[in-house]
């Protein structure tokens, strides 16, 4: 899911920052890192108070606590500082919403896997999987006897849809990532009609998934994650198209968790391609790679 910081442009060479009186920083800017956690918490609370979407508060709290604890420990070890907990909080809350299991341990394990993947699976100092996407996919594949992902939840009604769309749109607009969401939605709908044509199923059946809550979380909070998406605007749109296309084929193959798996494969692939291009460009220009700079930072 989305991380609390945005990264729409490559890191620029550092220049000495002017001393700035903290009071001059607009309040909204200071709140920026907290907005995604606040919004996703709002979604969680509204969803749970109106429909009781959570398996239980205790399982969600376990997921959040595990994510934050892992982040703190691993961040301290690798970054030699206490990391901001907002990112882990979002990952934990995502696990709490998206994972469904009658047992407790999958929530803790999924959160731990999500956060640890950020530190264990890195290429040139950058983690390449969206943490919660990785964690949930890993659980669906490795622990299928114990977990499923949210699919029939949130009352299937229009009110919940509107709530998530409004809050989600606010968040991705602020993060300047609405084009990713829009591109994916347009592609999904177009490919739905193509699938309906191929399978002979009602087109509404093919459209149905995107009208459900799992997709709202997916398109607003998962595929727009700044840390695990490519930098250029065109590249981001291309990745959204690629996710929709891979999902299209997975769906033709009756893969129930097609969007999650599509992101699982396409996201890292896109980042690796971007790194390769950066590397080649840097070699030609004799520059330092942006991701190397970022890693040093």
């Amino acid at each position: 899911m989305s991380q609390p910081t945005t990264q729409s442009k490559p890191p620029q060479p550092q220049v000495a920052a002017k001393p700035q009186f903290r009071g001059w920083v607009p309040i909204s800017s200071r709140l920026n890192p907290y907005l995604p956690p606040i919004f996703i918490t709002l979604i969680l609370l509204i969803g749970n108070l109106s429909f009781g979407i959570l398996e239980s508060y205790s399982k969600t709290l376990l997921a959040i606590a595990t994510a934050i604890a892992c982040e703190m420990v691993l961040g301290r070890i690798f970054l030699h500082k206490w990391p901001h907990p907002a990112s882990a909080y979002i990952s934990g809350i995502s696990v709490g919403i998206l994972l469904r299991s009658p047992a407790f341990w999958p929530y803790a394990l999924c959160s731990a896997l999500s956060i640890t993947s950020k530190y264990a699976l890195r290429v040139r100092g950058r983690h390449i999987w969206n943490p919660s996407n990785f964690g949930i996919c890993a659980m669906l594949i490795l622990a299928s006897q114990a977990v499923a992902s949210l699919s029939i939840q949130w009352g299937n009604n229009f009110a919940s849809l509107v709530v998530i769309w409004v809050l989600g749109t606010v968040i991705v607009l602020r993060a300047k990532r609405f084009h990713i969401t829009l591109t994916y939605v347009v592609c999904f709908i177009a490919l739905s009609f193509l699938r309906a044509h191929i399978t002979g199923d009602p087109w509404r059946a093919e459209i149905a998934p995107i009208t459900g809550p799992m997709y709202q979380l997916f398109i607003f909070f998962m595929i727009t994650d700044p840390k695990t998406t490519v930098r250029s605007r065109i590249g981001q749109c291309a990745v959204a198209v690629a996710i929709a296309v891979v999902e299209f084929f997975l769906r033709l193959n009756s893969s129930i968790y097609a969007p999650l798996y599509a992101l699982f494969w396409v996201g890292p692939t896109a980042l690796l391609i971007e790194m390769a291009i950066d590397s080649r460009r840097a070699r030609l220009n004799g520059e330092t790679l942006p991701q190397q700079k970022a890693a040093r930072a």
Partner: protein, 594 residues
Amino acid sequence: MKKAPIARILVALFFAALLAVPWMVRHLSAPAKADANPGAQAALARYGFSLQEVAHASGIDFVHQAPMLDSKLDGIMPEISSMGAAVSIVDYNRDGWPDIYVTNSAIGSKNHLYRNNHDGTFTDVADELGIADVNQPGTGVSMGAVWGDYDNDGYEDLFLIKWGRPELFHNDQGKHFTRVSDQAGLPPWINANTAAWLDYDHDGKLDLFVAGYYPEDVNLWHLRDTRMMPDSFEYAENGGRKYLFHNMGNGQFEEVSAKVGINSRRWALACAAADLNGSGYPDLFVANDYGVSELYINDHGHFHEAGKETGVGFAPKSGMNVSFGDIFDQGKFSIYVSNISEEGVLIQGNNLWVPQAGATLKYDNMARDLGVELGGWSFGAQFGDFSNNGNLDLYLANGYISLDRQRSYWYDFAKVAGGNSSIIGDAANWPAFNGRSLSGYQQKRLWLNDGEGKFVDVAQAVGARDTYDGRAVALADLWNTGALDIVVANQSGPLLVYKDTPSPENRWIEFSLEGTKSNHSAIGAEITVFWDGKQQLQQISGGNGFASQNDRRAHFGLGKNPRIEKAVIHWPSGTVQTLDNLTPDRLYTVKEPS
């Protein structure tokens, strides 16, 4: 990230260990399972009982026929017509031998009443008694049956649960049945799958609770349109209404559900009544498809819904069964509610609601801890002591739609089920089944209670090896041998009769109750047997499980060399009767003291 080689290695190891956890959990916490098919003698020696399927040998060759509904539903007909196989046990002619009533669900098909011939065989007498041809065109089809002596004349009457015109048949002294639905004042059409007799107001006359599934204005054979599906798969409240028919005592019933506080349009699939809070009045537990369960606490004739406050009505699942069992031999009922579990797709898990200690009625779901959580696409379940060792075991029927073994409908099901209500609520939007299965060909579960807090699945080992689409389960000592036999109604499949052979070393005791001040059927009466420092509570039920009703007689296993202290009967009238000097291996017929 700064270079930290040792830390990197450690985090890589930690990450690998995390990835290995599911594998370890799968192997360490795999539900205990018995050896498959060790043979009847070995099963008897190892587990204390064995089962033998004897339907055909007993003269029962019944195969359920599913309904064929409006052609607008053709694409998903296997799903819509996936219920209707039901079974209930009744001694309709008071000869002291349990008989079997089984429903059929195709228009024009006939229900069967298998009279017990006392020699191990049964004869279908439904036609001659007038309760066979009950699925006529224009009247809907049978979904279940519950028996209760509503007029206290000593003979069990029949309420037929239907998608269609509900029917009440008066038992004319075991010689014939007379249709009295109109005189009783029943509504013209209910699409129900469950009902239960109970005396909710303790007036000594049996009342009837009926819980709708589809709305009552839907005629599944003549649909106005295809918008008849639930509007949510977890929060649907557009199902059928609930009815509580108060017995006026003159052959008429008054519908009082709203008056007594029962208002719900959830999609009910199972219900059962028992006094869960010790008030002396029967409470109602309703398991709902597409939503949370409901628990109606009976406040001396008025109900309030207490699902959330008791803990049973929080997580929405696909409730399909309600059965009560004193599984810890402590004088309290636990409640088993079946749901759906399909590996990799949907893990709802069945619920075993165990009451907490203390005065407040609260439940914990201990299905996982006790090993009875995962049972596939689960339907009917019943508690019973099959080995007569003194602990209640659990039989579970399962399997939804068994068609093409190689092709599954799960992808399409999940695809649409998560969509907006305007899409899922319309049957026309659902992809066609085209012969695919949906959680079909599943192995049944027979969980043996080890008496120490664990259940072990011994179904394959003891002989319950069918893979039909199981629906209703009813228990009875069919041959009066002191063993609990299992009758299973399968959707579009044969009626199965599993004859139980328990270890002869284990003893038993049975009670047949007859109310006088209370309703004659003694429905709602509680019997507690005290032996060897243990106690076990059972009740006489007016319908439980899924579309089923057990034998009226209460069966208790006692184990080896039991010393019975006493049995205490709490009659619905409030009378408490204590029985002393009981000896095992006997059926006691007990009349309520007047």
